[in-house]
Structures are given as C-alpha cells and as structure tokens.
C-alpha cells in the first residue's frame, strides 16, 4: 500500500465480555422457573439468560457471579445493570458490585487479501497457522496484550 493512498481503517467493536457479582446467593431453579428467556443447564450448574435489547447473553451461577457477553455494541455499555434489575424483580437482594470488562472483540477489515502461509513464514515464531484446526492465523501480541486472528479475506479480530 502506498502512503499516498492511505485508506481509513475502522475498528468495529463486536463483542464485549464483562463480569460482575451480585453479593448474594441466587436460586437457579427460581430464576429458571420465573425468569424470562432463560435456559437452565442443571448438569453444569448455571442459567443462561438472553436479553433482546440490548443483545446480552448472561451466564448466571448460584454463587452470584455473572458473566455477560454483549453483541453489536454500538453505544456505551451502560445497560448491564438492567440485568441486575431483572434479578431484583425476581426477589433477590442484588447488589451490583465488582464490575469488570474482561474481554473485547473487535473486527478490522483490511482492503487487501492475505496469503496466510507466507504471512506465517514471515512472522515466525509468533504467528501460528494450523489450517486443520482453524482457518485463521493466530498472532498473540504481548505489547498490546491482545491476540489477533488474521483471516485470508483481510479481516483481523
């Protein structure tokens, strides 16, 4: 790519994973019976709650630990407390604490295709390409504390 023909690259945040605690014991059976849009996985001991607006999938454990994954993040992540509120409406004395963003997934489209075998050869030993397992090259970066997945279409995650 020439420096003169610089193309602006947008990094779109697609998923955000966060964790918070409710500081109270949660009865999974009660949530499963009375909650809306829930899936009770009794063998594993967790409840999946899926909200439509915002698009959140929450994994709820009885200890009060909740992991949320929000898809198609367009606005500020300020709608996770709605989840705690829905648990409060079920009758639990929920306290929204220890909120922490654990993982962010972002996508960036390159304006060119990438030859993955050559890319791997030029970036050894960091780049790892196993076509039998995954179609992308895994490129962990210590400086950014991020792991990149580079696809042949030029999409980096």
């Amino acid at each position: 790519m020439d420096a003169a023909s610089d193309v602006a690259l947008d990094i779109l945040i697609t998923n955000v994973a966060c964790v918070f605690r409710t500081r109270c014991h949660l009865k999974l059976r009660k949530i499963a019976l009375e909650g809306a849009n829930v899936i009770y996985k009794r063998d594993v001991g967790k409840v999946l709650m899926k909200l439509r607006k915002p698009r959140i999938t929450a994994t709820i454990w009885s200890s009060g630990k909740i992991i949320c994954t929000e898809k198609q993040v367009k606005k500020k992540l300020n709608l996770v407390p709605d989840l705690a509120r829905s648990l409060q409406e079920l009758g639990f004395r929920v306290i929204f604490t220890d909120f922490k963003v654990v993982n962010i997934l972002a996508v960036c489209n390159m304006p060119f295709e990438i030859r993955l075998p050559e890319f791997t050869k030029n970036n050894r030993p960091h780049a790892s390409y196993e076509p039998e397992l995954h179609p992308a090259v895994c490129y962990p970066t210590k400086s950014l504390r991020a792991a990149l997945q580079v696809f042949q279409q030029g999409v980096s995650q």
Binding site: S5, E113, L116, E132, L133
Partner: protein, 421 residues
Amino acid sequence: MPGGGRCPDCGSAELVDDSHYSQSQLVCSDCGCVVTEGVLTTTFSDEGNLREVTYSRSTGENEQVSRSQQRGLRRVRDLCRVLQLPSTFEDTAVAYYQQAYRHSGIRAARLQKKEVLVGCCVLITCRQHNWPLTMGTICALLYADLEVFSGTYMQIVKLLGLDVPSLCLADLVKTYCSSFKLFQASPSVPAKYVEDKEKMLSRTLQLVELADETWLVTGRHPLPVITAATFLAWQSLQPSERLTCSLARFCKLANVDLPCPASSRLQELLAVLLRMAEQLAWLQVLRLDKRSVVKHIGDLLQHRHTLVRKAFRDGTAELEAGEKQQQGWGKSPGQGKEEAATSSLDRPEGKRPASPALLLPPCMLKPPKRICPPPPISTVTGDEDISDSEIEQYLRTPQEVRDFQKAQAARQAAIGVSNPP
C-alpha cells in the same frame, strides 16, 4: 579390629566384628569363640537413620519415573513404530514427552489428555523434521477427539515454547497419493483404472500448486483439496475411460475416505480450469463445460502461469485502477474511453472482450449474507382519524349491544351480592 580385647579361651588379640544374621558379635578369628554379642532388638532412638522412610518423603519420586509416565513413553515409542518413523524421531518425541511431563499441569491431567499428549509429541517431532503427518491420522490411531487433541497441542506448544513449522503441502501430496490403491491391478481395481504413480503424482502436484495460487487452499483443510486434485489428475490421464467415474467411486476404488468438502473443492478447481481454458484460442471454439475440460488439463497445466495471469485479475489492483479511471472520466470523458480502448491491443476491434474474473478467495466472491432488515418503526399512536370505510368496523351491531348490556347487568348483580350493604 578393637584394641585391648583378648579372647578368654586362647588369649588371642585377633578379634573381629561379625554379624550372625541381624545380631552383631565379637568373635575370635583363631578359635571362633564369641566374646560378646549385640542385642537382637533395637529401640526407636537407637535406629536413628536406620528408620524406614516413606516413598513420598524419599528422593526416589523425583529420580524414578512414575508408572503413568512409563506407560506414556511406551505409547510414544509404539506410535513411532506404527508410523514407521526413523529412530531419531522416536528419541526426540520421548524427550518432548518427558519435558512436558515435568509440568505440574500435565502431571495432574486426566488420562485422556495424557494419551493425546503422546500424539502431540509425535506430531511436533514430525513437523520439525518436515515429515508429512496430519492431525486426523493421529486422532484416528489414538481414537481421540480432534477438539481435545487441538487443545492439548496448543497448550504443549505454548508450554514448551516450541517453534512448529507449518505442514508442507508438497510432501503431504506425495504421502497421501502414495496411499491410493490405484497403482496395481487387483480384483477391485479394473485394469483401465490403474495408473502410473509418477505421472499421477506430478500432475496432482501441479493441480495443487494451481489451487494454491488461486486461493483455494489458504485457510482450508488440505486433504479435501488434495483428494480433488488427485481425482482430476487421474481422470485427465485417461479421460475417455474415466470420465464416467464419480469422485465417491474413485475414493472407494482407491480405498481412501472421501472427505466431505472434497466435492465443493472439485467444483471450484473445475471453475478455475474453465476460466483458464477460455484464454486458449483452440479451446474457446469447443465451448467446454466442467466434464469436457478434464480432457485438456494437461495443456492447461503446461501454461498455467500465463493463463492464470490472463484469466484472472488482481482484486486490489482492479479497485485502484477503477478509482483512477473514475477520476479520469470525471475530468475528461473522451480521453478515459480512448485509454481504455488502447489498453487491450491484442483484442480485435469491435468485439468487447469478457472482463477477467477477480482473483479472490471464494468466500469473497460469494454474495454477502442478507442481513435481516430491522422491523419498520411503527408510527401509529391511536389518535388518528378513522376513515369512513373503516368506521363500520367500530360500530356495534344491535345483537352485540344487547349482549353487552346483559353482561353489564350480570356484573353489577355480582358486585351487589359480594358487597352486601
């Protein structure tokens, strides 16, 4: 020999310490007289360092190899022998297994993971020596799940800090093609289907290189591509007798599993070959299709580099050229058209040539997935005026009026009964 002691029988000074089983005795070496003897039993304080030590407190645990590790090392050696690997590979794989076993996470792992670790060590050794071995083969030999294998493999590569090179496609083609049972006539393989190994190998290699050049191999499992290329190579060597044979039948004859994506890889490869055939003048008039193009694979592969350049255009270069052309047309439309006309000097005038296809990965050429349109935002508030045609739907019929009045009266009566004055 203790000093100062004498035998009471013969008076000799030659006394020796001897033990009769576990009892220590002082014995005269001349006459054999027992001068003194020790006690048979010892106290706890007397034993001191002679006390028994449990195995977990001893240093034997660190020095000795545990039973599960021994079993794992035996499995590594057995797997190397089954795969007929050189002895140096065996030693390297054993060393990797021992190195991995020193980590507490691996030592405390489940037996299933330790079993899979055997395959991982052998695979890493083969990759480092450019020996073509796929994960599927090892999983089949160990009866292991590919997901468990992949997790263990990535963990081991990270733990040991190894640099594992990628699988070499050319070597894999040679090994995989050699496993096809088509090089000798047998009761299951008719004579017309038997093929020379070297010819088939060289043609398959050329087809795989062509697939690699045209984005059909990158990011995909290599075996389905190789299977499709081998099938095309085999068909093209004697097309008159083999065109009727399907891919599934071919794999059955060759005694090889048919991987699921192989048929779609075959179609993609045939599409590429058809595009290349359009560039050859003597093939343009024949109006080839996906079956008849197989007969001309030999010619197409001979000139594949030139034909690929002519048949396909680079995606990004085309985009930049398109932008520049648009800018040029914005300024002077006449000049832009002249430039476009003079660029194709080898085409006859008056005929508009078919534009070359974009050389892009198939996933980029396919139409993008249709996104479900969001539901239209409803602007109905309930305060709109009702039109004359709809007004009758809101008026009650006489029967409905009577029913409503009866229901109201019954409700009033029920309230009157429940709340007595």
